[in-house]
Symmetry: C3
Subunit: 144 residues, 3 copies
Amino acid sequence: MQNESLEDNADMLREFTLSTERTGMINITDRVRETLRESGVNSGTCVVYCPHTTAGITINENADPDVVRDMLFALGKTYPDRPEFRHAEGNSAAHLKASAMGSSATILIHEGRLLLGIWQGVYFCEFDGPRKRHFYVKIAGDQT
Amino acid sequence: MQNESLEDNADMLREFTLSTERTGMINITDRVRETLRESGVNSGTCVVYCPHTTAGITINENADPDVVRDMLFALGKTYPDRPEFRHAEGNSAAHLKASAMGSSATILIHEGRLLLGIWQGVYFCEFDGPRKRHFYVKIAGDQT
Amino acid sequence: MQNESLEDNADMLREFTLSTERTGMINITDRVRETLRESGVNSGTCVVYCPHTTAGITINENADPDVVRDMLFALGKTYPDRPEFRHAEGNSAAHLKASAMGSSATILIHEGRLLLGIWQGVYFCEFDGPRKRHFYVKIAGDQT
């Protein structure tokens, strides 16, 4: 019981790396679930964090890969490269897409599981690859 | 005092359901406040989470309903339906708007109240209704 | 040791004010770091929150100021003023940009430091200034 209680209150931080294509939304839900399982946390909150400025994290459909394809296509239209951009690296559109998706996602934990909707997956969004990237998964248990 | 302390540290998760129109931003601030009140938490953090992929959560103006109307109108222009979309359900634009608004909002709790700005309300954003939807409100108290 | 442990578990909330120009992204990373330092928290989570509806918080590049300039420029193109807008204050585009960037950012804390990427800074985004604005920094330590 002492052990269970300790595990129930454990906080865990894990870092993951991945290699990306030029652009892409990579489903990282399994790695988030794996971290939760290791933590032993039953209820709490999970934060997935991207430490890059031309990549982001979002939650969206996990079933039809055309959704992700359509999203990347449309983000390119909504945040195009513009002749007025001055940033010398030439990737200002990627910075915009990163902020549009956001640098993190927060997910609730209930009865030892991520409280994701049935169609929801967690995505690492690459807007300026190919690169070696990393992201963090933090599990914070409730106090009970 | 023991009780008060317990209540002060309580964590609470509640699920709410709502019926939506085709599109809409529904002010759910009262339900978030109600959950906080029930929890008895004095200081901590609140997460409002949407488990759907064509709906989202955002915080914006609670006073003039024209703001919400203008926002929905402009999101339709910024993320229009596009002939290049391949997702067979035909609602890729709704998926984009969901990620643009985000699947959750985090609100601080101070002295037993949501630390919202005077003009801020919490909105459930429907981009592909009408549907029966749900959302979660999580209250996590500080440790103190 | 008792003290250290207390400090390690301390939760802290601070409010900051700033004066803005018409539009701008103000790097507030130092103020977030300062709050973390004061809290003495070693590991946990930090939330930066904006209580306004025409301003937001985002995380993006801290090095080349042209990135911020390009982002503000492009947000103006993506969310322009539109003749169809009805909100009498005439700042609906600013409300849209605020929700697009989001009202808060969540940052992880590890070994007493913000777990920001090397190029990441935290920005207060003004879309409808000049105004006197404020924002909150909340530090929540792990339980351990």
